[in-house]
Symmetry: C2
Subunit: 518 residues, 2 copies
């Protein structure tokens, strides 16, 4: 079976095609062409319509290459009016629409599964407006996150979200998926930071909820409906976001700790000593630190394969912890950081030697270049793992004290009784500790244990979440990949209300079909 | 006309009684009595049913004494199960229900207008659970905000909201109204801080969305529907909230500035120098500082009556600005504060002498007692004004640079052509500058200009908001008082979607009838 057909099969496997949807025909294409070429606010840059497998290909596959639809056409509008006209028409004609931003999602939420059209917002990317007076920005949905960050930085302001995919992720998608990222613990979720939205509903109506007001209790705050609903309730076309004063000082410290108990203790010390300037607390287990020729790592990977194989214990050889501070005064931040490091050094828990003889080893960044390099250790972890084999990515969250349990639990499942070899199948964990958000990755280095691994992992991993007050999706969303497991994270009455909402707002189910609930 | 009948008339004036609602009868009362006395998780404290004008009176009037309903019975459940049973029954019998917390709202949102029953959550006040590990609390709806703050403080943790009414406001009401308060600019709204909710729907179903997880993108985040919808979509019965490390240092500085331009400049300097430790930036205009025998004020009220009377100018004689920092290191915070004060002293704008000869006068708090006393100047402003006469309270928000315009605009409306005398009718403004949230108060010291003032103020004030990118309700909500003006702050399509939501979730309109939309 070719890779292509595997991805197609997988797509079709998630849901059978809705028979009420129209098959795209010449008349439809002509209409789209007219709308996209037509008069709009950006006459110099009319929208485009892409057809044919070659031109559609890049939009038609998810980021991981796991799922590929049979999307016959990609629509690239350049204005809200065009989006509204397209959705209105699709509603009348019963054409399924997949709204798409940077297509960097990990749950196949922006992929077509059958022959839906893809509505890419990438051409709605006018230069964002940055207001220093109101400390906010207004941006079209297609503006790339990194570009928005740079535009804000020119005004000495900070966009309160960043993540590894910032060079491709678009702000409309960031909002629609309530993306989290590295600075979540400091600045909060999109529900905390979105001031206003413009949304096109399933009826093709424009909901103008744009605003730069910080406080506005005039009726139900409907923008929250569209944050994190993954394009199933409306298409986000414009966003207004809070901005923050750009920190003048960013300090970084990297620690190597022997036990998870030491991680918990280090976090307590960080809360105590760093408080308002703590901006990130990221944990990477030693097994995630796969050496690559491209990147030098601060600590070497220590194999615990023997212990795993023997079923002796399933905890990590060590934990790498990245602590970042952001503040307005470098001297104050360094003083706080020094006290924090001293407290950690004096803590028997943090400084204790572990199984592998590793001891407490802080590295304090001495320069901006080193800071960037240390961040890369964290940011490129998913890339390093992906290059090592076929990767199963589980994005789950737990109460802090149970953060790492899921990795040990899955190691037990995978290795016990010699089911899989620890050198062939890696089970690792890393993530945003401050948010309780761990990325459990299972890497099949042989790239051919799929079915057997599937049987071990699904639904066991998600059942473990349900049984331990966790969430099956911390930040990646539900998309297609997790919809079968939603009931493990949400009560039936709550899911019933989600369905009622979807039915009310999109009775024909044309917006992002087969996703989240269907 | 007696005061009582005026309040009753006012209540009835806002909406005519829904003829489909049942009149409460003996059978209904018997049912309520059975539920409330019945088996529940707190058998030692069964719920109560209050009937008769005397026992109902305290619940039946709004905090300002402006509106009084004809509520025949107050229900005081002690468990979610009781609330669910009551709502289920009221749904079947078509009995209107007004959910009520501390009844401290200012838009009559927790008042009965006709003969609805009042469902007070005040007996659902079990000791809140504080978790230091997850930095969160779980509390029943009736827990008083100040009590929750104290419970958290015992664990060295901070509840991220506080306000003047904290001694009476209950956490369920705080969430249902998305209350703002003094620390909003630092910690954000309830949408930022609520981690989980338990809600009883209009069908009497319990939606269990309780959680202490920071990140959870498993499907639509429905808790946001109930935050700020003022009890019209569901009754909040339990709340889980983020907590923060208790600041170890709270510094306060009070400034007297001559012009509003100086306030803007001082805010810019605060952002620059105080950054992450800025926790409040409150503005009180000089006219708000009415002397009282009970409270010594740091600055004297300077009358601009002559200028107002002559229509020469309508700006304030001066502005009092309260700047607070919260941080983990007193020395660092004081250093930042000193640099901030120095920058302000060196700023020609801040230090300039105004019309009344007032110059830049910083007062830095030297003790906790003084801090408390200075905060009182701000917190008791509404009380001082209320004791001076009949007070119209407008809680509106604007982009920062337009913060004070509305006060000057209303002064022009009120004083021009000698319509009202500045010594008899005060027009003042104070509020949370960092959020653009100004409380415009119009105080009728004669207590008898009601009709004439009404004609000048309504709907002019709200129209001014609409015309200047403002909101008709920054933090108080809509309730009954502002529902006629909702269209000035929200687009018709957005209001239509609010209505669809309400219809879907409460088709018979039994939850908080006549409020927000109806």
């Amino acid at each position: 079976m070719s890779v292509l057909s595997a991805a197609r099969q997988r797509a079709a496997h998630y849901a059978s095609r809705n028979p009420l949807f129209a098959k795209l025909n010449e008349k439809h294409l002509e209409y789209f062409n007219n709308v996209l070429a037509g008069t709009c606010k950006k006459e110099q840059a009319p929208g485009r319509l892409l057809t044919g497998p070659d031109r559609v290909a890049a939009f038609n596959r998810d980021w991981l290459g796991q799922v590929e639809g049979e999307c016959p056409a990609v629509l690239l509008p350049t204005s809200t009016q065009q989006v509204a006209a397209i959705v209105r028409y699709c509603q009348a004609e019963r054409i399924g629409i997949v709204p798409q931003g940077g297509n960097t999602g990990l749950v196949y939420g922006s992929s077509a599964l059958h022959d839906e059209v893809i509505l890419s917002l990438q051409e709605m990317n006018a230069e964002p407006v940055i207001s220093a007076e109101t400390m906010s920005t207004e941006a079209e949905a297609g503006v790339i996150l990194e570009h928005l960050q740079e535009a804000a930085k020119a005004h000495n302001l900070l966009v309160p979200i960043t993540m590894g995919s910032k060079g491709s992720a678009e702000i409309g998608g960031v909002v629609s998926t309530n993306a989290g990222g590295i600075h979540f613990a400091r600045y909060g979720s999109m529900h905390s930071n979105v001031l206003g939205l413009e949304v096109v509903t399933a009826q093709g109506e424009v909901l103008d909820m744009m605003s730069t007001l910080r406080k506005d209790n005039a009726g139900y705050d409907l923008k929250h409906l569209f944050i994190g609903s993954e394009g199933t309730l409306g298409v986000v076309t414009r966003v207004s976001l809070k901005l923050y004063p750009m920190p003048r000082s960013a300090q970084l410290a990297l620690f190597r700790l022997s036990t998870f108990q030491a991680v918990l203790e280090l976090y307590r010390l960080a809360q105590e000593h760093l408080a308002e300037c703590l901006s990130a607390f990221e944990v990477i287990d030693g097994e995630s630190l796969i050496p690559t020729p491209e990147q030098e790592l601060p600590f070497t990977q220590t194999s615990k394969s023997e212990a795993f194989r023997a079923g002796r214990d399933f905890t990590s050889a060590y934990f790498c912890v990245l602590v970042e501070t952001n503040g307005s005064d470098a001297e104050h931040d360094l003083e706080k950081l020094a006290r924090f490091v001293e407290a950690a050094e004096n803590s028997p828990l943090c400084a204790s030697k572990g199984v592998q003889g590793s001891a407490f080893e802080p590295i304090l960044s001495q320069s901006l270049a080193q800071t960037a390099q240390l961040w890369k250790v964290r940011e490129e972890t998913p890339v390093r793992l992906a290059s090592a084999g076929l990767t199963y990515k589980f994005d789950v969250s737990f109460p802090l004290d149970k953060f790492y349990d899921v990795v040990e639990h899955v190691r037990a499942l995978v290795y016990k009784g010699g089911k899989f070899d620890p050198d062939e199948v890696l089970v690792v964990g890393y993530g945003h500790f401050g948010d309780g958000n761990i990325h459990l990755n299972v890497v099949d280095r042989t790239r051919r244990q799929g079915d057997a691994l599937d049987a071990v992992l699904f639904p066991s991993v998600y059942e473990f979440c349900a049984a331990h007050s966790g969430s099956i999706s911390a930040e990646h969303g539900v998309g297609v990949q997790k919809k079968a497991y939603l009931g493990l994270s949400r009560k039936p009455e709550v899911i019933a209300l989600m369905r009622s909402l979807k039915r009310m707002m999109d009775p024909n189910g044309i917006l992002n079909p087969y996703k989240v609930l269907e």
